[in-house]
C-alpha cells in the first residue's frame, strides 16, 4: 500500500484527467446524441438515414479504432487539434489539455454519442402513444411535439440506459490512456512498473476508485430518476 500512498498526488492528478475526459465527453456526447436521436425520429428521410448510418458505423467500431482515427489518421488530412493548449496549474503539477487530449475527447464524444442516441430512442419509444397524438391534436409541429411533450418524458424514461452509457464512458476513458493521455490507466501501469511486487494493492486501489466513481454516477442517476419521475 506504501507505493500507492507515496504517489497519492500523482494518482489524484491522473484521476483529474479521467474525470475531465468524462465530463467533457459526457456533456458533448449527450448534446450530439440528442441531435442524432432527433434526426433519427424526425420527418426528413435523408436525416433519418444519415443518423442511422452514423449510429450503425460508430457503434460497431471499437473505441480504440475511433480514437486511433482522431489521434493518428486525422492529422494526415490536417485535421489537427494543435490550437488547443490549456494548462490548469494544480499543487501536484500541471494538468495539460493539449492536442492529444482533444483528439481523445473528440473520439470519446463521437463514440458515446451513438450510444446516447440509442438510449434516447429507447426512451422515446417508451413514451405512451397518446402523448404525441395529443400534442399533434393541439396543433404542435414536430419541433414542438419533441421539445415540449416527447423529449421531457423520453429523458425521464431513458435515465437508466443513459446512466449505463455514461458509466461505460467513464470506464472507456482508460482507452485515452492507451493513446497518450496521462490518466489513471497510464498511472497504474507506471506504478506497477515501479514496484511489481505491489501489483495487487495498486490494482485494488485504482479499481476501488473506479468502483466509487461508477457508484457515484449510478447513485446520482437513481436520485435523478426518483426526483423527476412523473406519477
Amino acid at each position: 500500500m506504501d507505493v500507492v500512498w507515496e504517489h497519492r498526488e500523482a494518482i489524484a492528478l491522473a484521476f483529474a484527467y479521467t474525470v475531465l475526459l468524462f465530463l467533457i465527453a459526457g456533456v458533448g456526447s449527450t448534446i450530439l446524441g440528442t441531435l442524432l436521436a432527433g434526426m433519427r425520429v424526425g420527418p426528413i428521410p435523408v436525416l433519418r438515414w444519415a443518423g442511422a448510418g452514423y449510429v450503425t458505423l460508430v457503434r460497431n467500431t471499437p473505441l480504440v479504432i475511433v480514437i486511433i482515427f482522431f489521434r493518428y489518421a486525422a492529422p494526415k488530412i490536417d485535421l489537427k487539434f494543435n490550437f488547443i493548449d490549456v494548462v490548469i496549474p494544480t499543487g501536484a503539477g500541471d494538468i495539460r489539455l493539449n492536442n492529444i487530449f482533444a483528439a481523445c475527447t473528440v473520439g470519446l464524444t463521437m463514440y458515446t454519442a451513438a450510444f446516447v442516441c440509442e438510449a434516447l430512442r429507447s426512451g422515446i419509444n417508451a413514451v405512451p402513444l397518446g402523448q404525441a397524438e395529443a400534442a399533434r391534436a393541439v396543433g404542435m409541429p414536430f419541433g414542438g411535439v419533441m421539445r415540449h411533450v416527447v423529449l421531457p418524458q423520453a429523458f425521464r424514461a431513458s435515465i437508466p440506459p443513459l446512466a449505463n452509457v455514461q458509466i461505460a464512458l467513464i470506464k472507456n476513458t482508460t482507452v485515452a490512456g492507451a493513446l497518450g493521455v496521462a490518466e489513471a490507466f497510464v498511472r497504474m501501469r507506471g506504478l506497477i512498473n515501479i514496484d511489481a511486487t505491489a501489483r495487487i494493492p495498486i490494482f485494488i486501489a485504482f479499481a476501488a476508485i473506479f468502483v466509487v466513481l461508477v457508484e457515484i454516477i449510478s447513485f446520482a442517476a437513481h436520485r435523478l430518476e426518483r426526483r423527476v419521475r412523473v406519477a
Partner: protein, 288 residues
C-alpha cells in the same frame, strides 16, 4: 411508438417544406462528403502506395489470418470462458444462502465496474508480456472477467424471466432445488438469454481491440504493423478505414444472427433487460 406518430401526415405546404429540408440537408451532407474526398485527395490519401497492402495478396492474407482470425479467436475464447464464469456466478447470485450470494454479488459488481484495460494490465503483470501468446491470454482473461460478470447478470435475469409456475410445478412433482435449476429453469433461461449472449459477443469482439494497449495479436496489431511500415508512406487513414470496416462487417453479421435468434427462439418479446452496475440488491436476487 414508431417514428411516424411524432408528426402528422404532411399536408401540401409541409410536403414542400420537407422537400426543401431534404434538398438542403442532402446538399449539406453531399457537400461535407465531397469536401472530405477533396481533402483526402489533396493530402494524397488515394495514392496507390497507401492502399497497396489492402490489394496485395500477401498482406490480405496477413490481415485475414493474423488479424481477423486472431481477433475472432480471442473474442470466442473470451466468451466461452465468460459463459462458464457467468453461469457459476449467476447461479451463485441466485443462491438461497447469503454466504454464497453476497460474495458472488461482490465479484460480479467488482468486475463489471472495473475498466477492462486496468484488469488487462493487472493480469499482464503476472504474465510475461514479451511473449505474444501471453499478451493474447492477458486480453482473453481480462475480457472473460468483464464479460463473465455481465453474463452472470444476464443469466440471473434470464432465470428470473422463466415463468414462476414452471418452478412451482417442478417442486410439485417432487424435484429438488438442483434438479429444478438444471432441468427446468436453465434450459428455458438459455433460450431467453441467447440473443443477449450474442449481443455480448459483439461487445467482446469490439473489446479485443483493447489489446492494442498490450500489443496483443489481432487486427490492431496488424494495423500497427501496416501503418508503421515506411513502404506504405504513412497510411494510417486507409488502414484505420479498412480495419474499422472489418470490425463493422463482423459485428453486423453477429447482430444479424442475434436478431434472427431472437425472432426464432424468443418471438417478438422484448430483449432481456439487465440491471445497471450499482443496482445492487442481492436480497431481491433470491428466487421467490
Amino acid at each position: 411508438m414508431s417514428g411516424s406518430v411524432l408528426f402528422d401526415a404532411p399536408g401540401p405546404r409541409s410536403v414542400v417544406r420537407h422537400r426543401l429540408y431534404t434538398v438542403i440537408t442532402s446538399v449539406v451532407l453531399l457537400g461535407a462528403l465531397g469536401y472530405a474526398v477533396v481533402r483526402l485527395e489533396q493530402n494524397g490519401q488515394f495514392e496507390y502506395e497507401k492502399w497497396e497492402p489492402f490489394v496485395s495478396p500477401v498482406y490480405i492474407e496477413t490481415i485475414l489470418v493474423d488479424g481477423v482470425l486472431e481477433t475472432v479467436k480471442m473474442a470466442f475464447s473470451a466468451i466461452l470462458l465468460a459463459v462458464g464464469f457467468g453461469v457459476l456466478f449467476g447461479i451463485g447470485k441466485l443462491s438461497d444462502h447469503g454466504l454464497v450470494r453476497w460474495p458472488c454479488w461482490a465479484v460480479v459488481e467488482f468486475w463489471r465496474a472495473v475498466p477492462v484495460l486496468l484488469s488487462m494490465i493487472f493480469i499482464g503483470a503476472y504474465l510475461d508480456l514479451s511473449q505474444l501468446s501471453h499478451r493474447y491470454w492477458a486480453v482473453v482473461i481480462a475480457l472473460m472477467l468483464y464479460n463473465g460478470a455481465v453474463l452472470a447478470e444476464i443469466f440471473r435475469a434470464g432465470v428470473n424471466a422463466v415463468p414462476h409456475g414452471q418452478v412451482e410445478a417442478a417442486y410439485a412433482v417432487g424435484m429438488r432445488k438442483t434438479q429444478v435449476m438444471l432441468a427446468i429453469q436453465l434450459p428455458q433461461a438459455v433460450k431467453i438469454m441467447l440473443p443477449a449472449l450474442i449481443s455480448q459477443c459483439v461487445v467482446a469482439l469490439k473489446d479485443t481491440a483493447l489489446g492494442y494497449a498490450v500489443l496483443a495479436p489481432g487486427l490492431t496489431f496488424v494495423a500497427r504493423l501496416i501503418y508503421n511500415n515506411p513502404d506504405f508512406g504513412q497510411n494510417q487513414l486507409p488502414t484505420v478505414f479498412v480495419i474499422a470496416m472489418i470490425y463493422i462487417v463482423l459485428n453486423l453479421i453477429l447482430t444479424a444472427i442475434a436478431t434472427w435468434v431472437q425472432k426464432k427462439f424468443v418471438g417478438e418479446k422484448k430483449v432481456l433487460e439487465v440491471a445497471m452496475v450499482g443496482e445492487g440488491d442481492p436480497t431481491a436476487a433470491a428466487p421467490k
